[in-house]
């Protein structure tokens, strides 16, 4: 069984030297099992904060979070996170970085048994031949891909991704979107996906959550009417462009778009 | 280890059990224990040669003893380990046990092999210090917080020396040596049995000496102390030890060359034969025991020490001399 999540009117206040910062206010959201939910919103609106709260890395200041109906305060076992900043371990090779969660959770033996899978994953993101390199020998996008592999190798029930494709070129990005869809289809995990690309969000998701600027809150939830599986043709469906422009217009009504 | 720290009984020397002696043969009764330890108060120096001679020439064995002679690190620490029972017997000067007994340490002096003090003031012959008043206008180096340093003000006072005209430099021992040898100071307080021959050898000329013992400042050195409990339980062993040492001293002073050779063999890394020979010669001068066995403690000697210490403020609560020492373990012929 995979994970259903329930965020109940979550608020988050950061204490800083120069006063409090209200990052989130009344974020209310439910994430169905096996669904793919994307979060879009202006930079600094609190997307990462929502994700960190779901991941249990941050405590909400107000409100609560329920998993499969039960109050969730502690770590989630069956979860994997791709952070906004690729946190690779400088002292481990690419392969060892990918295998890090396995080694740490299941020991050296299981790590050995998982090497093939890791190689496979690395190959699928275009990093074949880079297994023995160290992080500092990689380009920015390569590091991001390693971080994605590190999350996927855990076979999570809940996958949290914070702008995972930000540093990737259009082609690689598209390739990885397809891969991600295939995997979530195969393993039926729940995905929370933060992105700045409205197209990406619409293309991938069962539900797109649009957040407003500080203090972050949810302005609109847009369930997808697009058919599955998604493929090259999905982009050509009128619903696709329709949803994209809906979201764009929500943004436009909120934001200020000034021209020189 | 806290248990180790618990002290033993705290009784004065006079109440110790006496050794049993066969009235006919004069032979001391069977030793209660045979294996004992003797803790010296420093690494090897010439005056310790008799203890090693006693080992090597079989004097201990002759008396049925097996004495482990161990090097140590200063009288205070020797006293503490003896008081605590880690070591059975120890070597100190007379000063520290006098203080230790006052502090309640369960120890007693049972022999002292220098009946005259080796403490002296040495000076370069071109600025000689022959009498205490010669110190006026001069500088003298002394080991920091040493016995000499503590009694020095009283010494000056007794000899009517104007203390404000004497520059007393308190430094650590090797710095003291350096300052004197480099003529940064005029005089130095040392032991005749230890540093004097070393200095003279290094400088290549004889130094002017002033012995404190000549001015009624006679603080004897090379004193054997014992743990009271040990002495009380093993009077025969203690008596046998002193008897063996009597012979060993006699032998050493008569066979200085052999004693030097024995020392050199025992401490190849630490012994300069010439210096040890000189040290033993000087030891002979201040170890005068006529008609009494080597180590016999003269009561007036102890009393004098106590007076000096009291006058210098090193002890405040002087007890009877018997509280500090005993000659009970000597066998008079």
């Amino acid at each position: 069984m995979t994970t259903s999540l329930e965020l109940n009117h979550i608020g988050k206040v950061y204490q800083t030297r120069t006063g409090e910062v209200q990052a989130l206010s009344h974020v209310h959201l439910s994430i169905a099992p096996r669904s793919f939910v994307s979060i879009v919103g202006p930079s600094g609106c609190g997307k990462s904060t929502v994700m960190r709260i779901i991941a249990g890395l941050e405590q909400p200041s107000t409100g609560s979070i329920k998993k499969n109906g039960a109050n969730l305060e502690n770590h989630r076992d069956d979860m994997a996170v791709v952070f906004q900043k690729d946190v690779l371990l400088a002292w481990r090779s690419v392969l060892d970085n990918v295998l890090f969660p396995i080694e740490i959770k299941h020991g050296k033996k299981q790590k050995k048994a998982t090497v093939d899978k890791a190689m496979q994953l690395l190959k699928s993101v275009g990093l074949a031949g880079f297994e023995q390199k160290y992080p500092h020998e990689l380009s920015g996008g390569m590091k991001q891909r390693v971080a994605i592999c590190r999350a996927l190798i855990q076979d999570p029930q809940l996958l949290l991704m914070d702008e995972p494709f930000g540093a990737l070129d259009a082609l690689t990005r598209e390739q990885m979107m397809y891969d991600l869809l295939r995997l979530s289809d195969t393993y039926q995990f729940t995905t929370v996906f933060i992105t700045h690309s409205i197209e990406e969000a619409v293309f991938l998701s069962d539900k797109v959550v649009v957040m407003s600027g500080r203090p972050g809150s949810i302005v609109k939830e847009i369930p997808s009417t697009l058919s599955r599986p998604r493929n090259g043709d999905t982009r050509k469906e009128p619903e696709f462009t329709g949803q994209v422009s809906t979201i764009r217009s929500i943004f436009q009504t909120q934001g200020i778009l000034a021209e020189a | 280890f806290l248990g180790l720290l618990a002290g033993c009984g705290n009784e004065g020397g006079s109440s110790l059990a006496n050794p049993t002696v066969n009235a006919d043969t004069g032979e001391i009764g069977e030793p209660e224990v045979e294996d004992i330890t003797l803790r010296l108060n420093w690494r090897f120096k010439g005056e310790f040669a008799p203890f090693y001679v006693a080992q090597e020439k079989g004097f201990f064995e002759e008396y049925g003893l097996n004495v482990d002679v161990l090097e140590g690190n200063g009288s205070t620490s020797v006293m503490q380990t003896v008081a605590q029972g880690q070591d059975d017997l120890g070597i100190t000067s007379t000063v520290e046990p006098a203080q230790g007994v006052e502090e309640g340490m369960p120890i007693t002096m049972i022999a002292t092999y220098m009946n005259s003090s080796p403490i002296m003031i040495a000076s370069h012959p071109d600025a000689p210090v022959e009498t205490p008043t010669d110190l006026e206008g001069k500088s003298i180096a002394m080991a920091i917080a040493s016995t000499f340093t503590n009694i020095f003000p009283r010494f000056l006072e007794e000899e009517n020396v104007n203390a404000s005209e004497v520059e007393a430099v308190q430094v650590e021992a090797s710095a003291r040596n350096g300052l004197f040898l480099g003529k940064e100071v005029d005089a130095v307080a040392i032991f005749s049995t230890n540093e004097l021959p070393v200095f003279e050898k290094e400088l290549g000329y004889e130094l002017t000496s002033l012995y404190l013992s000549e001015y009624q400042f006679d603080l004897a050195g090379l004193t054997v102390i014992g743990n009271n409990q040990f002495l009380n339980d093993n009077p025969n062993t203690a008596a046998r030890f002193l008897a063996a040492m009597d012979e060993a001293f006699r032998y050493t002073l008569e066979h200085i060359d052999e004693a030097v050779a024995i020392s050199a063999e025992r401490f190849p890394d630490a012994v300069d034969e010439e210096i040890v020979r000189e040290q033993l010669t000087l030891l002979e001068e201040i170890a005068q025991f006529d008609s009494v066995p080597f180590g016999w403690i003269a009561e007036e000697n102890i009393a004098e020490t106590l007076t000096i210490l009291e006058g210098s403020g090193l002890i405040s609560d002087k007890q009877e001399a018997e509280a500090y020492f005993t000659n009970e373990f000597f066998q008079l012929d």
């Binding site: 204490q15 | 806290l2 720290l5 308190q170 430094v171 650590e172």
Partner: protein
């Protein structure tokens, strides 16, 4: 600073208890120390440990109180030596570390000498210093300096070398001299390492000053200890040691305060675990 809660994994399980734990932290530590002294006191009483071996805490404390005037005046002397010696140590050690960081040649040439100085006990060096520099203040300052500057140099070198390449590139891209690069990037980046070295160094400087007093002095806690020792006044010896420890804690605490004051940004970026 107040975002503490986020860093602690363990705390998250019971976020409500955070407040309760916070207050008595230092109190508990105090209790532990008191407990320690209590055990010591009981041990000396029950096992009848004689005073000349190990005085009871009470006798030490009463001695500290009754001799507080004496201890304070000697402590000030020692503190002055420590202060001067440590200042000297910093003002030699940091430039030396910079030289070592920027010149492999100097690193190779200086390290052997530094290590040699570090490996030779101060008690061996002290007499030589006395002969060269006299038995005055200089010798003690030099000893405090000599003993404390190795940890400062080593930690400073490690710290200065720990600048991320990215940051170094940033400096280069702005086109500044390596000199400014040092002050604006290397130095702030090395602060955690530096403070580690300073904490070790400042306590060692106390040792250096005291050893200096052992060797040549007429004042100071080292001298007091020696004379007390010569008198077999063990409680005073321990009272002196206690004062020394107090000085060390004061200096250490001062460094720690300084550290918090200079690097307020640091703890917020680090997962200091239970803090």
């Amino acid at each position: 600073m107040q975002s503490k809660t986020e860093t602690t994994w363990m705390k998250q399980a019971k976020p409500k208890s955070v407040k309760r734990i916070q207050v008595p932290h230092s109190l508990w530590a105090g209790f532990t120390l008191i407990g320690f002294f209590l055990v010591w006191q009981l041990a000396t009483m029950l096992l009848a440990i004689p005073q000349y071996l190990l005085p009871s805490p009470i006798s030490i404390f009463t001695r500290v109180l009754s001799e507080s005037q004496l201890l304070l005046s000697h402590a000030l002397t020692t503190l002055a030596e420590v202060g001067l010696g440590f200042a000297l140590s910093l003002s030699i050690g940091i430039p030396l570390a910079i030289a070592i960081v920027y010149s492999r040649y100097l690193a190779n040439a200086l390290y052997p000498i530094l290590i040699a100085i570090q490996c030779i006990p101060m008690v061996s060096i002290a007499p030589i210093l006395v002969i060269w520099f006299g038995y005055g203040l200089t010798t003690k300052i030099l000893l405090a300096c000599l003993i404390s500057f190795f940890p400062i140099v080593i930690n400073a070198v490690t710290g200065f070398r720990s600048l991320d390449k990215d940051m170094h590139d940033l400096g280069r891209s702005i086109g500044i001299s390596e000199w400014k690069n040092f002050f604006y990037l290397r130095l702030p980046n090395a602060l955690p390492h530096l403070f580690g070295g300073i904490k070790v160094g400042v306590t060692l400087a106390v040792v250096g000053a005291v050893v200096g007093e052992f060797v040549a002095s007429e004042r100071g806690l080292g001298y007091l200890q020696l004379t007390a020792n010569a008198r077999l006044d063990t409680p005073l010896v321990f009272a002196t040691l206690f004062t020394l420890a107090l000085i060390g804690m004061l200096l250490f605490g001062a460094v720690q305060l300084l550290e918090r004051w200079i690097m307020p940004w640091y703890s917020a970026n680090k997962a200091g675990s239970e803090r």
